[in-house]
Structures are given as C-alpha cells and as structure tokens.
C-alpha cells in the first residue's frame, strides 16, 4: 500500500508529475492515491519531504540464497543448429559470471546432438549439460520445461538466461513458475549491482515507450529472457577448454501432454532478415503494394533484404516474417533504410541499434528522423526511383570497367 503522511505532505505536486500511471494527484492540498497505483515507488523516490512510503512486509528469502551460484544459459537447438541468440547469451553470461566469480554453463537439449557442446564451449561456456533424447527432438513445453527445471533445482544456478524466441517465450515462463522464481522478459540490458551482487534486468514496457529496471531479490535463480541481436557473443575460440556433462533423466520427465504432429518450415523467405547486413524497410508511406515494390527494388539493387513495418504487413504487402518491431523481429544490420516509416516507438525498438539508419519520409517531424543517421525529407516516389536508377548506373558503370 502507498502510505501518504498528510501532515508531512506539502501538496507540491512533484509526485503527480512523476507518476507514470497518473495514479497520484494533489487534491485539497495533499496527495491522494488512486486504484491504479502499481506501487512502482517512483513517487516515493522524488518526494522531497518524505511524505510517501510503501509498506512492505519484510520479505523472507526463498531459502538460503547463498546456495545458488553460477550463470546458466539455455542453448536453443532446432533444425540441426544452435540458435545464434544462445551464443549472444553466452557473451553476456560470460561477463556476468566473471563479475560474480562463478562458472558459466550452457544447457543443451535435443536429439542427435554432436559437435554442439564443443561449439558452446568455444563461445565461452565453462561447462555444458547435454540432454540428448529422442523425446526432445521436437520442442514441447512439458519436456523442455521439466528438464530445465529439474537441472536448475539440482545444480542451483544463481542466474538463468534464455533467448526471447518463440521457444524461449513459450516455455521459460513455465520453468520460472515451477521454480517459484521471478522472470523478466525481453531484457535489453543485464548488469550486476555492485553493493549486493543482484542481477539488474532492464527491459521495455508499454510497447517500448518506457524502460524499466527490474530485480528479483528474494528467490533464485534470477531468470531473464533476452531478444536476439541485443547482446554480443564472445570471440569464437576453438582452443577453449570446458567440461561436457551428459545427463540422463527419469523418462517420465520427458513425457508431454502436447504432441507435435508436424513441423512446417516457412517457405516465405530463405533469407532471414535478422541475418542480413543491409535491410530496406517499407511502411505506410508507400501507400500500396505497387508502391512497396520500390522497396523490393532498392533492396535488390543494394544486395539487401526486405523488411517492413507492422502497417505494411497488416496491409498485406509482405509477409509477417519481414516485420520489424515490438511484435515482429529485432534486427541489427549494418544499414537500415526506412522508407515511408514514421518511426513509431514500436518499430524503433526493433531496429534502433542498426549501425546506420537512413530514413526517407515526407514528414520532417516523423520520429524516425530522431534515430536516423542520415535523413531525407522528401517524396519517396521521387527519391526512391532516383536512388535506384543511380545505383543501377553505378553498378553497371563498375561492371563496364
């Protein structure tokens, strides 16, 4: 409960301006809190007369937290390879493990595993727990969840990280619930607080309009999922040494109440936009499927892949695998060309870490120009054809020489 000391309160209104939920207001000269207070504590921090407090009954730790140590990364294996996000997690995991003076381990689930454990060590793992079972050939929340939760209970890692992929977002919340611990999804930053060693997990909320830093103070492991292309992997080092632990579990744990009958790979794109160095993205400004054709042309002449805002996908001009943004993919290419994209925050969170962003839009106030390295305010139905023509000229010019 948020407690307001009416005598101490001077009705200055700082709390009202600070509240991100509009839940506290000054009425009759003092602060009054409404039903939608989320107890985030922002107002408590800013009150200059200490009139606000959040009553928290001292919470007990869930067991002896000191028993939990080590950083774990769930290594996602599907279609014969480890998902790149797993290596990125080993990158951040390595940093966290070193800060905690603890080992970094990967947990690898699947069937027909071969060199993958060695790969994980080359990317920074000190140890890899391998669970190689036919029952794990297909992803099921039951089997994957049971295995990871069982291993975590036995070995007690302090921190457990997984990719915020379709698989991760599906089963990791189940694992967190089984372990009765806290989970923070889609983290964009992970840090260790120096005074108590607690993991600080930063993530976007409200579609990316707000960033929140979150902690899991009383239970272990501290769990977090991280989106692909947010963290950097360590340098691959095939000389690196590590331990491989082959795990055999009770077969009952591998049973699943959901059966996978078939896996269908998307025919839509051979090119995965998250792996392209150059992306040309189109939005509402292209006005039609025909207009969107300019984006495809530019991508082709630049040797890049085609991406899209949600508006373009919703309009049916291109398929969902090309969607960039909060509800689509996160990309980090060398060059991102945003054509007719206004730059709503939900789109920006999916591409703002591109090395270079080029924006073409007729509205000089479009938010996209706030993140663009190079911006062109203009009519893209003039700019794009001109750009395409010049690039073709250059290309044939070079070929001619």
């Amino acid at each position: 409960m948020l407690k307001i000391d009416i005598d101490a309160c001077i009705g200055c209104g700082i709390c009202e301006s600070t509240c991100t939920f509009g839940a506290i207001k000054v009425e009759d000269g003092h602060a009054v809190v409404g039903d939608n207070c989320t107890l985030c504590g922002s107002c408590v921090e800013v009150c200059e007369v200490e009139a606000l407090t959040i009553e928290r009954t001292a919470k007990e730790d869930g067991g002896d937290l000191a028993e939990w140590s080590g950083v774990w990364v769930f290594a996602e294996f599907r279609n014969g390879r480890i998902a790149p996000v797993s290596f990125e997690l080993l990158g951040v995991g390595r940093r966290l493990a070193d800060l905690r003076s603890a080992p970094l381990a990967a947990v690898l689930l699947g069937s027909g595993l071969d060199r993958q454990a060695r790969e994980l060590i080359a990317y920074g793992a000190d140890r890899v727990y391998v669970v190689d079972e036919p029952a794990l050939a297909d992803f099921t929340d039951d089997a994957y969840g049971n295995v990871l939760a069982t291993l975590a209970r036995e070995h007690k890692p302090e921190i457990l990280l997984a990719g915020a992929t379709a698989i991760g977002r599906s089963f990791i919340p189940r694992v967190a619930t089984m372990l009765a611990t806290g989970l923070t999804a889609d983290c964009t930053d992970l840090a260790i607080r120096s005074d108590d060693g607690v993991l600080l997990q930063t993530r976007p909320a409200f579609g990316g309009n707000i960033m929140a830093t979150i902690e899991c103070p009383h239970t272990r492991p501290q769990m977090a999922t991280v989106r692909p292309l947010v963290m950097k992997p360590c340098q691959y080092d095939d000389q690196r040494q590590g331990e491989i632990v082959e795990v055999k579990l009770d077969p009952a744990l591998l049973e699943s109440r959901v059966k996978v009958l078939e896996s269908v790979r998307s025919k839509d794109e051979q090119v995965n936009i998250t792996e392209a160095d150059i992306l040309v993205a189109g939005g509402r400004g292209l006005e039609s499927e025909k207009g969107f054709g300019l984006v495809r042309e530019l991508a082709e002449v630049l040797g890049g892949a085609v991406a899209a805002s949600r508006a373009a996908v919703d309009s049916g001009w291109i398929g969902y695998p090309h969607q960039v943004g909060q509800t689509g993919k996160t990309v980090c290419p060398k060059v991102y060309v945003a054509c007719g994209i206004s730059g709503a925050i939900q789109h920006l969170v999916g591409m703002q870490s591109a090395d270079a962003i080029i924006a073409i839009n007729r509205d000089e106030n479009a938010p996209i120009f706030g993140v663009a390295t190079y911006g062109i305010v203009g009519n893209l139905f003039e700019v794009l054809p001109a750009l395409i023509d010049r690039l073709k000229e250059q290309r044939s010019g070079k070929a001619g020489n």
């Binding site: 985030c40 009954t57 989970l183 579609g207 830093t213 959901v258 059966k259 190079y374 911006g375 062109i376």
Partner: protein, 259 residues
C-alpha cells in the same frame, strides 16, 4: 465446453509517451482498451462455442473500472463476466497475477479450456498464459495461430514458431495463448451491446478466492521494479537537403562509405 477467456484492460500503449524531462507519462488522450490480443482470444472462444456449444466466461483481474472491458467482452459474445478485484492485488507481477487468476479459475470450476492473448501491450511479458497453465497444472500451447479441430477431448492447432509453424495436439483441459493471425475479432452486435449494457460482472475479492495474502499483489511478487526511465535514442543525425537529385547524390556518397 466451458471456456474461460482472460482479458485485461490496458492503456492504449501506442499513445503512451514518457516526457524525458519530467519522467511523466503524457496521459492526454490515452484511452483504456481491451488488450488487443485478448480480443482475438475472445473471438476464438466464441467461435468454439458456436461450433461445439458451451459457455464463454470472460475473466479479468483489475481495478473496478476493468468492468468496462468485461462489458465489451459480453458485447462480443461472452456469456458471463467475472471481475477479480481487490486492493490487495495491486502491484502484482506475473507470478502474483498467475496465482490470483489460478485461484479464480479454481473457484469457477469445470473449465475445459482457457484462452489468453499472447501478451498484454502494457507489460509485454507474455508470461501470464504459460505461468497460469503451470499454476493449474494444465498443458498449454503458446502462440496458437490456427485452430484445426477439436474432438475426443483433444484440440489440434498450429503453433507459430520462429521458422514457420508446428501442428500440435493438446489434451483438454488445457490453455492456449493466441496470436493475431488466428482470427478477425467480430464487432459487437446490437444484441450483444444490449446484453452488455445491463450486465453486472460477478466480483471476486481476495477473501472470495480464499487467497493467501502473502501471495498477492506487491507482497506476493517475485520481481520488483527498481526504476522506470525514458528510452534514449542516438543524437547524431544529418539531414540531407536540396533537390531530389542533390539528396540522392549525397546519400550515394554516404552509402559508399557504409558498404
């Protein structure tokens, strides 16, 4: 079939802005809406009811004003509305939320299927669906994009994966979370709107749920917000000016150096 649909009233996230100078949410014109993914969850439930018979119960955990969202749910085909509301629930993270919703569903009893939206557009965690299934010890499928059929106590569906989709079969009772591709939510019918107008949601308080107070709200949460701030974006930018051909020439130069 008794189907429970979890719905949440959320601020329309696309309109939410944080003023970096004052750290305030600019709330002018920010509406409260039914979480968009929950509209799809509700539509999926109503379609199943129309096909197989049964009842659809719209369930929401929220402050008293969340009853508006339940009213909308009834207007779009839900038969019953249940509001789980109590000051004790304030500050709940997904762990405390799944506990509370789990107690409510236990209380309702006889549920065959629970359908949730993939995620709420304020929290964006996508954790409540799977967490709730685990609380109730139920199987679940997340990211359902198409329901293929339902027979002999099993539901067959397509689940979205990063590289395509899987065809899966789940035994009932169970839980689904749905993505937008699954359907086009209907608009409220006139009959629905009239029914919604006179509807009063059944309210369940912490006491009604026989809930353990230590498991509720902020107190019952395993995660805590340390701070909230505005995202920062890069400052460097260069606008290319002039005629179209001048702009294009400048851009070509820049591209040369980038590629």
């Amino acid at each position: 079939m008794k189907i429970v649909v979890c719905v949440k009233q959320v601020p329309d996230a696309k309109d939410v802005r944080l003023d970096p100078k004052t750290n305030t949410m600019a709330r002018e014109g920010v509406q409260s809406i039914m979480n968009p993914y929950d509209r799809h969850a509700l539509e999926a439930a109503v379609q199943l009811k129309e096909q197989f018979g049964g009842t659809v119960v719209a369930l929401s955990m929220g402050p008293p004003q969340a009853e508006e969202t339940l009213r909308e749910a009834v207007a779009c085909g839900a038969d019953e509305a249940v509001l789980v509301s109590d000051r004790a629930f304030a500050g709940a993270d997904t762990w405390a939320t799944t506990y509370t919703l789990g107690r409510a569903i236990d209380k309702l009893g006889g549920v065959d299927l629970i359908i949730c939206g993939k995620q709420a557009i304020d929290g964006d965690t996508a954790q409540v669906g799977p967490g709730l299934a685990q609380r109730l010890d139920l199987p679940y499928v997340a990211y359902a994009k198409k329901i293929l059929g339902c027979a002999e106590g099993k539901i067959r569906l397509e689940r979205l994966m990063d590289d395509g989709y899987d065809v899966v079969e789940m035994k009932l009772p169970g839980l689904l979370t749905v993505v937008k591709e699954i359907n086009e939510p209907r608009v409220p019918s006139l009959k629905g709107k009239m029914k919604a107008k006179s509807m009063k949601a059944r309210v369940l308080t912490a006491a009604d749920l026989e809930a353990d107070p230590a498991s509720l709200g902020l107190q019952g949460s395993t995660t805590q917000v340390v701070r909230v701030f505005s995202p920062e974006f890069r400052a460097e930018r260069c606008m290319l000016t002039g005629t179209v051909s001048e702009q294009v020439e400048q851009l070509l130069e820049k591209l040369e150096s980038l590629l």
